[in-house]
Amino acid sequence: MRYLDEYRDPVLARKILDEIRAATTRPWVIMEICGGQTHAIIKNAIDQLLPDMLELVHGPGCPVCVTPLELIDRAIAIAALPDVIFTSFGDMLRVPGSRRDLFVVKSLGGDVRIVYSPLDAVRIARENPHRKVVFFGVGFETTAPTTAMAVRQAKAEGLDNFFMLVSHVLVPPAMTALLESPDNRVQAYLAAGHVCTVTGWKPYEPIAEKYRVPIVVTGFEPVDLLDGILAAVKQLEKGQARVENKYARVVKRDGNLKAQQLVNEVFTVTDRKWRGLGEIARSGLCLKPEYAAFDAETFFDVTDIEVEEPPQCISGLVLQGRKKPTDCPAFGKQCTPHSPLGATMVSGEGACAAYYRYQRGNDDSGKQHDKDART
């Protein structure tokens, strides 16, 4: 299949791997920002094939993982209200709140529906004028334009029964926060290709310059990821620190101006708490005053939110690239995708879920099998 097969070509992948091995002379720590990339790396077992001196650490780019527990509890409380149709991308349904998840609300009679686009939620609002329809607007710069479009559409249609529970977050402030942390280990970033499709890479240029880190805009297929890693290693080895685009078939320097305009029309930048990272200044989006009528958080005055936060889970450290999922004593024991302790074990983009699904107890099998395959 065009645009897919060529980026999964094993021969090309092995060639780039050889180049990476040849280019690496010292140990380096590279963080891939995006959870989609984390999954692709672990699913394709790319990490097993890299030279031992290269360490990939997994970034906070999993919207489900960084959505604060308070907001998930609030979503669950709103979804349980009798006149509400609660709509969300599928991933959010399995994220445990303090006491239950959205699937449980659904099984107890709550009207919780998975949608693939926020515009589907607007349609549901149009078709159900006597119900209140809430969309859980979660995600990075990638999904913000479609949520913005939904709010604008609802306003244009004069819908007064459509609401948005907004938890949009922005990547560059989180990258900066990680680099400023005294415990930072990250020496280079693979920037998330899909986010850059919307924002372009201009916002990353001051980060690369100020913190002296190479930032490589990277795609999601094995060849894309290896290309990104190779570019990062080459910059690190030469002492360079600039933004480089290795996802040129999709990403332009200025990004998608129309999408940016849409986001700026509906949302404004705000401080936001990230689950596992804490408060980060100017790192989120909230509705502008002229769209405040659509804000679910103010409309639904849900007050009995009591957040319970047991301490076993280390996903905060995982999201900061300071620990690997397998460093957690609960990993694969008390904490599994079946009964997750933290959101990183739930989401399709969470690092713990990726390790559990693809690499659990498989640490040595790669090398063993490789040997077998050669003999």
Binding site: M1, L4, P10, A13, R14, L17, I42, K43, N44, A45, I46, Q48, L49, L69, P96, S98, F103, V104, K106, S107, L108, A177, L178, S181, P222, R275, L277, G278, E279, I280, A281, V307, E308, E309, P310, P311, C313, I314, S315, G316, L317, Q320, Q334, C335, T336, P337, H338, S339, P340, L341, G342, R357, Y358, Q359, R360, G361, N362, S365, G366, H369
Partner: protein, 354 residues
């Protein structure tokens, strides 16, 4: 405001939700929750040697003959989909559950739960397609039942079936009978049924439409038995939970490791495309006209050629092998050469796919 990263630990993780007071959709996924429900509730209550094997069919001895006996329910939404409908799906699915034991399917039952308001034309079409599917496979629908419920208390129609077949061999074909060294043979492309239903349901259109693979596999099974003698150790049609669920069940029941090779697993390009769009792994998608067999290595090539000569096995491939190493675990070599786990499906990706 100052950026302030949580210094250490996390402190914002909730306690686990490991047990449910009510049925969740994932209890019907064919994955881990389904298995827990079956083991903790049904096997605990009904347990007996025939049931406890948890194969797709029970083998029972009656008057000196060995019978394969199975039941299945069909709730697919939509009831008409590219390549079939709930009717032929029900007949073929039941036949497949019987013949995966190597039995010859003979008789079926059909129970209909109908929603008030269902167009009679639709029911007529579905009944005719059941009749055609049964005739094609030389099975007879010999008994049935009809119930009608109020509008809204079912969705259009649900079909429950039972099936009986005759076991005419005396070797063991079962999930707990996979041996290290067995070749894992897949009869064709993965994911066609699940993605045909899902792309119709989600209104996704592709240049070349995805068509369900619903088909009765009894001829293919007969060919395998003829070619392999007693070398076929396990057979399964990987429906709900897909190939991943079947191989995990085998690895666990037989206490073997199973290794498969991504580059040998056939998937049609439009299915790959639809899976990419919806974020679904074809290894977990339901098939309704495919079988996977564990066959002793020395017979594998002969079985493969015989399968390829049949229209339903044209794309058959040896996709891996059972090994003594890592019992209970399924691993896959990725296209670029690393190894990863293929886990039991968790949660419910695709409700009402069959």
């Amino acid at each position: 405001m100052k950026n302030n990263l949580t210094p250490d630990g996390f402190g914002s993780c909730p306690r686990p939700i490991s047990d449910f007071d009510t049925i969740q959709l994932a209890h019907g996924s064919g994955g881990k929750l389904s298995r827990d429900l079956v083991n903790r509730l049904f096997v605990a209550a009904f347990g007996n040697p025939a049931l406890n094997k948890l194969d797709d069919q029970a083998l029972v001895d009656i008057a000196g003959r060995r019978l394969a006996f199975t039941t299945d329910s069909f709730v697919v939404d939509p009831i008409f989909f590219p390549g079939g409908d709930i009717g032929d799906l029900a007949v073929n699915g039941t036949i497949n559950d019987i013949c995966m034991s190597g039995a010859r399917p003979l008789y079926l039952s059909a129970g209909f739960i109908l929603e008030e308001g269902l167009p009679l034309d639709d029911l007529h079409k579905i009944v005719l397609s059941m009749q055609r599917a049964a005739e094609k496979a030389s099975v007879t629908i010999v008994t049935g039942d009809t119930k009608v419920v109020n509008k809204g208390q079912a969705d259009k129609l649900f079909i429950n079936t039972a099936g009986i077949g005759l076991v005419e061999h005396d070797f063991t074909i079962a999930a707990d009978n996979v041996h290290p060294g067995d070749a894992i043979i897949l009869s064709g492309t993965l994911g066609d049924h699940g993605m045909a239903v899902l792309s119709r349901r989600e209104g996704l259109a592709f240049e070349s439409p995805i068509v369900s693979d619903t088909a009765a596999l009894h001829e293919l099974v007969a060919l395998i038995l003829k070619k392999s003698g007693n070398a076929a150790n396990a057979m399964r049609d990987p429906t709900r939970g897909g190939l991943a669920a079947t191989l995990n069940e085998w690895a666990e029941s037989s206490r073997v490791g199973i290794r498969i090779f991504e580059e040998h697993i056939p998937v049609k390009p439009p299915v790959t495309g639809a899976c990419e769009i919806l974020g679904i792994d074809p290894l977990y998608v339901a098939n309704e006209g495919k079988l996977v067999a564990a066959v002793a290595r020395e017979a594998a090539e002969a079985v493969l050629s015989a399968m390829r000569a049949h229209p339903l096995g044209r794309d058959a491939a040896i996709i891996g092998e059972a090994v003594a190493d890592k019992p209970g675990m399924v691993t896959m070599q990725t296209r670029i050469g690393g190894w990863r786990i293929v886990d039991m499906p968790v949660g419910e990706q695709l409700p009402r796919i069959c």
